[in-house]
């Protein structure tokens, strides 16, 4: 039966995430925006708390734990499971601070990759460890099939060589999931992901980036020089299956894109809430029953933004709900990511404009959110990549036809 309200059974979790966001994230937001590259030690205690919640059978809601599709679940009609609860938790936490969420120990995108594609032995071995994700290289970002980092089997090890940039939490994480190709000539199908321990010889941290936003989160560059990784650290199937192509590694994205969309929804929510407050203090109040055009121009703008926010939120919930109900959701995940990414940026920037110098100055967080927002329309697939995916699906085109 059609119902688009948040399920009651997650209200305690959502409330908990909101408290964390309000008490811990918000109060440290500016501090770590200014002190880029310093470690937010306040998060250690919080992470321990989240671990406790996770092992108690609940869901921490910070992002990385709950994206695995468990085939053991009983199937009885409509399900609201961990995909939906996680995305709802992420929205709340990013209402607090998206940079700090990305810095949460043991909640990295590498953890998502492990949770999504690792076998049971690997799951057990990497349990409770913080994993970052390394895909991008200096010469390729969106075109991840073009990566040059190579992996060569030598005895019981793979030997990795190459360069990785834009690794979120790269300095702080204990593990890095590295994408590398077994055979450049074999194309996409030869690209596999490898779990690399941080202290592995030949795995060197080159530098940390200085960024527009999400400055609480460290972004690292690595060099891999004859870096030996045990054979058992290859995630998924080592065979080069040209039929399956990219399937294995790309599967992670179906799970992580709704999460990034959820992050964007959280930031947009913060911007709208703050702007509404500032406008109301200035005497501009929204009347939902009256036409937008007969109210203050700022109200008309606000309604437009709020409608986009609501659309992004519901599309994100849809993608997560489909994953919970084991329906294929690549299309919906990309639709949600595209809508949430662009709406979040538009909303954050417009909110700064509406609030004038109050929005632009560092006394408030609006200007920071407008800087943070931009990355959400870039990482885990840019706006343009999402549109390509959506278009190919709708039009029935291959990546060779619609490039």
């Amino acid at each position: 039966m059609i119902n688009l309200e948040n399920p009651k059974k997650f209200s305690a979790l959502v409330n908990q995430a909101h408290q964390v966001a309000a008490e811990i994230f918000r109060s440290n937001s500016r501090k770590y925006d200014l002190a880029e590259h310093s470690y937010p030690k306040e998060l250690d205690m919080l992470a321990a708390l989240l671990d406790g919640m996770n092992s108690a059978g609940g869901n921490g809601g910070a992002g990385a734990a709950g994206v695995r599709r468990d085939s053991k679940d009983g199937d009885s009609g409509n399900r609201n499971g961990s995909n939906l609860s996680t995305v709802l938790g992420v929205m709340e936490l990013c209402w607090g601070d998206v940079g700090l969420l990305l810095s949460m120990p043991r909640q990295g995108l590498g953890n998502s990759a492990i949770a999504s594609v690792a076998n049971d032995e690997q799951l057990e071995r990497f349990k409770g460890r913080w994993a970052a994700m390394a895909i991008t290289e200096p010469h390729c970002g969106s075109d991840s099939a073009a990566i040059r980092t190579s992996a060569r089997l030598d005895g019981d090890d793979y030997v990795l060589n190459g360069e990785k940039i834009f690794v979120t939490s790269g300095e702080r994480a204990e593990l890095v999931v590295v994408w590398a190709t077994l055979d450049k000539a074999a194309g996409r199908a030869a690209i596999k992901s490898f779990v690399v321990e941080k202290n592995t010889p030949g795995f060197e941290l080159v530098r940390l980036e200085h960024k527009l936003g999400i400055r609480a989160s460290d972004t690292a560059q690595f060099a891999l020089v004859n870096c030996r990784v045990p054979k058992a650290n290859l995630l998924g199937d080592p065979k080069i299956d040209v039929e399956k192509g990219f399937g294995g590694v790309m599967q992670t994205f179906d799970n992580t894109r709704p999460l990034v969309a959820g992050m964007a929804v959280g930031v947009a929510c913060a911007c709208l809430e703050e702007t509404r407050k500032i406008l109301e203090q200035a005497g501009v109040k929204i009347d939902y029953d009256r036409p937008a055009l007969t109210q203050h121009a700022a109200v008309a703008e606000f309604l437009k933004m709020e409608a986009d926010y609501e659309a992004a939120r519901l599309l994100t919930m849809q993608a997560a709900w489909m994953a919970d109900n084991r329906k294929p959701n690549s299309l919906q995940a990309s639709m949600a990511k595209a809508k949430a990414g662009r709406s979040c940026v538009d909303i954050a920037l417009k909110c700064v404009e509406l609030c004038g110098s109050i929005g632009y100055a560092e006394n408030e967080l609006l200007e920071k959110w407008a800087r943070d927002a931009k990355i959400l329309d870039i990482f885990e697939g840019t706006q343009q990549i999402q549109l390509l995916i959506v278009a190919r699906r709708l039009l029935g085109k291959t990546s060779a036809e619609l490039r």
């Binding site: 059609i2 309200e5 029953d289 036409p291 309604l303 849809q318 278009a391």
Partner: protein, 438 residues
């Protein structure tokens, strides 16, 4: 459990009605070649209101009959129930097969073929909203079901969908807000064989129209009320036998009045517009119209009026969503088949991204509308959700109508393809008030 109470039984009843129709045999409908309403295509042709039937009570109700509120589900769910899905498929079949086929002719004639309207009422759409004790088949109040129906009809044609749905806006209003006397008098006609044309008239001809600030006035007089004013873009105005009219009641605020079309002082002026032409839009001129005291709906309660306005806006959201779906379904094969510079134009990002954005915003429109309707049917506040759905459907719906023409280029501009009609029709969704209720 009686058949009518049973959800499955209800769906089967609707299906059974449908199966018995000649529509299903794919017999062609008589085209509206005989344009009895040819005047409708000309602006400003004025006539008196249609002669209405004698609305009489066939039974006396002691208290008004209402549909029970639907129970609130615990979980987030985007899957329609089995009966909703069946109804949606049935209505969609009718829309794509019949409404789409007759849309172009009805658009230029400014009239919906009578047979088509009869078939649509035979589908039993209006009956769903009427409780059983009044002869309907409704067992539960469901704005979501009404949204699904409006969406499905508009996939065929928006103008014809409006013509089909206009009477049920009046019956729905009576079910929701009529008292026992009003229900006994008027509702039997809406569950009979020949459903009267009827319309919910809210919009007025002025810029920046705000339904909370009406220029149509009602004041007490002669033991009842006197109405004065002009209503705009009223569907099937010339043939309508019954109107529900929004007017500002002196010393109270906006309120709804039941107006029979033969009442002295009711004038109809044709008002063909950019789109919605199949709905034969007209102005309803109220010139010193005297009504009995029993014409006022629900004692002019403010919350009833606001709900009415919002439920109508959701109706327009659903219609815009259905039309936008029609655009998407039409442009996909077109851009895949159309070749330029040696390959299908869909191989170009400029074209492909446009299609992707249509799909993304269309899905957004649908989800916002469903959420607001879901809240409405469960008795939760839904003003905010409605305002957001309307904003999005007005903006994105029009943008999709625009893209539909653009993607076909010059071919989109000529009447060989339906996209120019959808462009005209979709403009209405952002400015209409009243007319349809979910």
């Amino acid at each position: 459990m009686s058949l009518a109470n049973d959800a499955m039984g209800f769906g089967l009843r609707v299906l059974n009605r449908f199966a018995g129709l000649p529509v299903v045999d794919r017999l062609g409908l008589r085209k509206p070649a005989e344009q009895v309403l040819y005047q409708a295509t000309r602006t400003g042709f004025r006539t008196i209101g249609a002669l209405n039937r004698g609305f009489t009570a066939t039974q006396k109700l002691l208290k008004p009959a209402r549909l029970p509120q639907s129970r609130a589900p615990e979980l987030f769910d985007l899957a329609p129930s089995d009966e909703q899905q069946m109804l949606r498929d049935t209505v969609q079949g009718f829309a794509l097969e019949q409404l789409r086929t007759h849309a172009a002719a009805a658009d230029s004639a400014c009239a919906a073929p009578a047979e088509l309207l009869q078939q649509s009422s035979d589908l039993g759409i209006a009956l769903m909203g009427v409780p059983e004790e009044l002869g309907g088949v409704g067992s539960e109040r469901s704005a979501v079901t009404n949204v699904l129906v409006a969406e499905a009809l508009a996939q065929g044609d928006l103008g014809l969908a409006v013509a089909c749905l206009a009477p049920s806006a009046v019956s729905t209003a009576l079910v929701l807000w009529g008292d026992a006397e009003q229900q006994s008098k008027y509702l039997p006609a809406f569950v009979g064989e020949k459903i009267p044309a009827a319309a919910l008239a809210v919009l007025e001809p002025r810029p920046l129209f705000d339904p909370m600030v009406l220029t149509t006035r009602a004041y007490a007089g002669g033991g009842g009320y006197v109405l004065e004013g002009v209503k705009s873009l009223v569907p099937r105005a010339a043939e309508a036998e019954l109107f529900i009219v929004a007017a500002h009641l002196e010393d109270q605020g906006p309120a709804l009045f039941i107006v029979e079309s033969s009442t002295q002082g009711v004038l109809i002026e044709s008002e063909p517009a950019m789109g919605l032409r199949a709905a034969s839009t007209g102005r309803l001129i109220l010139d010193n119209v005297r009504l009995p005291a029993s014409a006022l709906l629900s004692d002019a309660e403010a919350s009833v009026y606001t709900d009415c306005i919002n439920l109508a806006r959701l109706g327009w959201c659903a219609l815009a969503t259905g039309t936008a779906q029609a655009v998407l379904d039409y442009v996909i094969p077109y851009v895949n088949e159309r070749v330029a510079f040696g390959e299908p134009i869909s191989h170009r990002q400029a074209v492909a991204f446009n299609v992707a954005n249509i799909a993304i915003e269309l899905e957004s429109m649908r989800l916002l509308t469903w959420r607001a309707a879901g809240r409405a049917e469960r008795g939760l506040p839904f003003s905010r959700e409605t305002a957001l759905a309307r904003r999005l459907c007005a903006d994105k719906g029009m943008a999709i109508g625009n893209d539909g023409v653009q993607l076909l280029g010059g071919h989109g501009y000529v009447k060989e393809h339906p996209v120019e009609r959808w462009y005209r029709d979709l403009r209405a969704a952002g400015l209409m008030e009243g007319v349809v209720l979910v």
